[in-house]
Amino acid sequence: MTDTITIPSRPRAFRPATTEPTVVKWALIALCLAVLTVLLFAPLIAVFDEALRRGWAFALVSLSEPDAQSAIWLTLTVAAIVVPLNAAFGIAAAWAITKFDWRGKAWVITMIDLPFSVSPVVAGLLFVLMFGANSALGAWLVASGFPIVFAVPGIVLATLFITFPFVARELIPVMLEQGRAEEEAALTLGASGWRTFLTVTLPNIRWALLYGVLLCNARAMGEFGAVAVVSGKIRGQTTTMPLMIEMFYNEYLSVAAFTMAGVLALLAFVTLALKSALEWRYADQLAATHRH
């Protein structure tokens, strides 16, 4: 007897074998959103809520106060020095590592990554030990009028340490993947080393470079622990924006603290927006989207 196929009177919803039941899905989504709200979004809202507690005018005035102004200026200055230096390092290191074969690369890469495993406070400590007045070198520097610790150079050095790996880590995987053939081709066509780098390599890595610079800048402007240790927190002279936030906060100047925090939060938003834009448009040219 032949089997007959009974057609169900109402089509059953087909759920592919590789998905969870809809109820489960939405429960998980809700759970994630709840945790993120409590962890990420609520604090952010709190920043702006506190900053604007007494209105826009009050908040903006707090930013124009001399200490706030010098903090902003110092933060920008430090970033303007640190980011290009670390970008130069990142490019040099990535070139050396990806365009040549030599032994010890793994060691060097580990050492470049070292700052990630070190507490910011310890980073600050390093430079206090090297250049602080308690060391021979430090005492001499202070005497000669070029103090490093408790002065801007120290802040620059500590921030350099903290943000050291950012650009290199973005460039190395990308340049490894891109290989050497295009550079070799340029050489065979008569281009000098510099021309090859500028016209062939740089265009190929520009998005990864921008991405690394972006992250480096965000961290450089936001660094707290290392700078707290090495700067001496001299008001109006060696206080960066994050340090100023702490000072205002400890003095119960809530609006001033949260307004400055709000400015940095806005900077974080811009960083994230640019970062996402780069990831969406240029995913194939970024290390971030390949990293495991």
């Binding site: 295009e182 070799e184 340029a186 065979t188 066509l189 062939v200 190929n204």
Partner: protein, 243 residues
């Protein structure tokens, strides 16, 4: 056009670390010939080609171009047009800019004016039979088209020799046949001394004036295609070459 270059390879050897990619090999490539370096992977043929192009330094030996020692010449000085296995087109430049690259890279004394560069690039685009793709990017081209652009780019610098590393490697059979004929035509048109690396013996036999059979860093036999086929001189050649 200048006389195509005569290449002498004298006892060229190359070591990578402790591995010998090339035991000392010697070879004469007469001016204007189309030569195939044929062998399986690991035979050293690509290494030899790269040494000719200046992309590797030999561990020992000399290379002579028209009788003068070229071993010390830099890559840029050699004017060896090189077509890479992966074509290595500059992914961020248009086809036009790729081909024009070598001319623009010349020092201002020898650099042609922009109009002249454009004229030459267009002439080359005609030569490779792709006159309309100048504004496209490499990612928009097919494999066969990229190969031809890579060839045009190498020819743009008015090289004294043409070196090709597995030029037909990654392409399907029909495209390969067309490009083989294309290469032969270009060789005949330009008269350049041309050396190409391949592991495909049909290709080598069909195209080349001279075939150099290599294995494990040594040259097994050199000769015209018919000679290699009919008179294999070593066991390797006998085994490798199927009639």
């Amino acid at each position: 056009m200048e006389t195509p270059v005569n290449i002498e390879i004298e006892d060229i050897a190359k070591e990578f670390g402790t591995t010998a990619a090339l035991h000392p090999v010697s070879l004469t490539i007469p001016s204007g010939t189309l030569v195939a370096l044929l062998g399986p992977s690991g035979s050293g043929k690509t290494t030899l080609l790269r040494i000719l192009g200046g992309l590797e330094f030999p561990s020992a030996g000399r290379v002579l171009f028209d009788g003068s020692d070229a071993t010390g010449l830099t890559v840029q000085e050699r004017r060896a047009g090189f077509v890479f296995q992966s074509y290595a087109l500059f992914r961020h430049m248009t086809v036009f800019d790729n081909i024009a690259y070598g001319l623009r890279a010349r020092p201002s004394k020898t650099r042609p004016p922009a109009a002249e560069i454009a004229r030459r690039v267009n002439k080359l685009l005609d030569l490779i039979k792709l006159p309309d793709i100048g504004a496209r990017y490499p990612s928009q081209l097919s494999g066969g088209q990229r190969q031809r652009v890579a060839l045009a780019r190498a020819l743009a610098i008015e090289p004294r020799m043409l070196l090709l590393d597995e030029p037909f490697g990654a392409l399907d059979a029909k495209v390969r046949k067309e490009l083989r004929q294309g290469l032969r035509d270009i060789h005949d048109t330009t008269g350049l001394t041309t050396v190409f690396v391949t592991h495909d013996q049909d290709e080598a036999m069909e195209l080349a004036d001279l075939v150099v059979v290599m294995s494990m860093g040594r040259i097994e036999q050199v000769g015209k295609p018919e000679d290699i086929r009919s008179r294999p001189r070593t066991p390797f050649v006998r085994e490798f070459i199927t009639a």
